[in-house]
Assembly symmetry: C2
Homo-oligomer: 364 residues x 2
């Protein structure tokens, strides 16, 4: 056993709760108190959707010395983006997508949020004994089609099987590498007072679609998941103007992502509740379920923070790109205490907080 | 949903069995019939421990076109290795290691087997509601220490939580990227008649250590897991002579790995049962459990196939490197039908086959 002998304090809490996986306050606490101090890596601590790594000069790469301390070296001509995501969505197949295509697009989107196009993906499966091979095959077919659609490839994988009752059908973990062009830096630390906040499309569809098929709460709706690759949308927006930061609004929804951005940049973000595009079926589904759509997961929607002077051209470019047809300005970045404020339909303004508990377990 | 409309035949079998995760014949069937034809990627089809990808010329990487078809392009000066592994070992802590350090070293070793040093790792956790935070913390401390020991970093992660009973405590998925220097090609297709087969250390320790603590079969032993990083050992061997192929002998043990190598190179490999180094505790543990140590998982042992003329210098270099102190020649590569033959302690020779069933579920 490796001797850790770590003097760090134990993180808060006695046991893992569902809320630790919700993307909200408990997730952030686990990351801040447990993972970041122990792994001690500056790129991890940045908490981006993907890590961005400098590459050494490959033309001199004839022998390999320690590659672990590349951070802080002069930036090379291109950088490597690297990300991973676990998917435990229940049920594994739902309107508009399934756990397989969701995993592929989720990883492609994490790369896109740092400005990278995918170079390749890997996939690891944890399967429950007794899973129908026909169900696994349908999910694998969906992953393969999703990879082709996103212009990438699946180059390595691993499969483990556990006894009946030791996992719930299928868990999928995808990882991805991509390349970030020279000079492109998308990071919440670049957000400035005066920037505009853009949402790329209608919110809440993924969460409502999954819940509509979940045992115990199933209901009729024509809402389908928005799961889709955002690479082309990002390329269109970046080409049209100065984009400072991107985040895809998955677990925790747009409210959580906006809070993460405001905290990272130490700025006040004010958004207008009525500005967010939303399908009628999402509005009614959320009413039935008692959910706030600002906290519902999306899988093909991002928040872009854009230089104020460029926002018209960026929104216009987004509207001509895949998944961006309803891109809309929803808010502004202001000076003030770090946090997010919501202008409500009645004209009042209130804080838009990070959830402590768990609105939607196993939504992705 | 992505329309797969895939004309491929369904793979064999109705449901997933534990044997599909064993690394033996059922695992190979799943890979050959389900994953490889559907994902349709030449690098995946090579079935190496890690994929090896050419990188485009980064100095021209100012705009990003489709990066998905780099295979077959002229090889760049250095290449990127990329791998993923899921860990579901039960119990998650056992003599000599735990699921955390096992995951880090396992991924580092998959990179080492294609000649790469690790550049960075990611980790994804699937946690069961109710897992003690102290247990998770101990595992994370162990991962952090393992990453430092292996000279690498953990740069990104993801955590999902599922309800009590929907997973067994903790599953860990690590992915890794590394760099392969120009001119280095380790691949079973390079194996030639006349090559020598080397095992890097004593076999079977990991599997015996895990089983010694498993509910239902626990027994007293002083055997500890051999889990360790093999990067420095590989660098020492490669520097000392012509190494054609490497494989770490994890699930399915040395017998399975030798069969994979023989099949990939279409050669006959003959090994001497008495030549494999093994601790007395492994010998007696396997006798108690009714296991053949040639099929028991290792997590810090590899098989190297080496040019016959260089074998003495390669073994000598291995013996001076970490984890290589008992490196030994165990066999030769011969012409003949593809397969592995075992010279037994009594002087007879018999085929050493791939197991159909499952000797050791959830061993890694």
């Amino acid at each position: 056993m490796v001797d850790a002998s770590c003097p760090l304090p134990l993180p808060s809490g006695d046991v893992i709760l569902l809320g630790h996986g919700s993307g909200g306050r408990l997730t952030a606490q686990l990351i801040d108190e447990l993972f970041v101090p122990r792994f001690g890596d500056p790129e991890l601590a940045r908490l981006g959707d993907a890590a961005v790594l400098d590459l050494p000069d490959l033309s001199n790469l004839t022998n390999l010395t320690n590659l672990s301390n590349l951070t802080g070296e002069p930036e090379g001509p291109g950088r490597l983006a690297f990300t991973t995501d676990a998917f435990v969505v229940s049920p594994p197949r739902f309107p508009g997508a399934d756990i397989g295509s969701l995993a592929v697009f989720g990883t492609v989107n994490d790369l896109a949020m740092v400005g990278a196009r995918p170079l390749a993906l890997t996939v690891a499966f944890v399967l429950e004994e007794g899973l129908a091979i026909a169900e696994l095959t349908a999910i694998v077919d969906s992953m393969a089609a999703a990879a082709r659609h996103a212009g990438t490839r699946i180059v390595a994988g691993d499969t483990k099987v556990v006894e009946r009752g030791a996992a719930d059908r299928i868990f999928v973990v995808t990882s991805g590498v991509g390349l970030v062009p020279a000079g492109r830096h998308l990071d919440p630390s670049r957000i400035e007072v005066g920037d505009a906040v853009v949402v790329s499309g209608p919110i809440g569809s993924h969460g409502v679609a999954v819940l509509s098929r979940r045992t115990g709460v199933a209901f009729d709706t024509d809402v389908v998941s928005d799961s889709a690759p955002l690479t082309d949308l990002v390329e269109a927006m970046v080409a049209a103007g100065e984009v400072h930061a991107l985040r895809d609004a998955t677990r925790g929804g747009v409210a959580t992502v906006l809070n993460e951005m405001a905290a990272a940049a130490s700025v006040r973000i004010t958004v207008d509740e009525r500005a967010f595009p939303m399908l009628d079926g999402v509005r009614s589904g959320c009413a039935v379920l008692g959910l706030d759509p600002l906290y519902v997961a999306n899988e093909g929607v991002c928040i872009a923070v854009v230089a104020g002077a460029d926002v018209d051209s960026v929104v216009s470019a987004a509207r001509s790109a895949p998944c961006g047809g309803e891109a809309t300005v929803v808010g502004v970045v202001e000076a003030g205490d770090a946090g997010v404020h919501l202008r409500t339909g009645l004209g009042a303004t209130r804080p838009l907080l990070v959830l402590t508990g768990d609105q939607l377990p196993r939504i992705c």
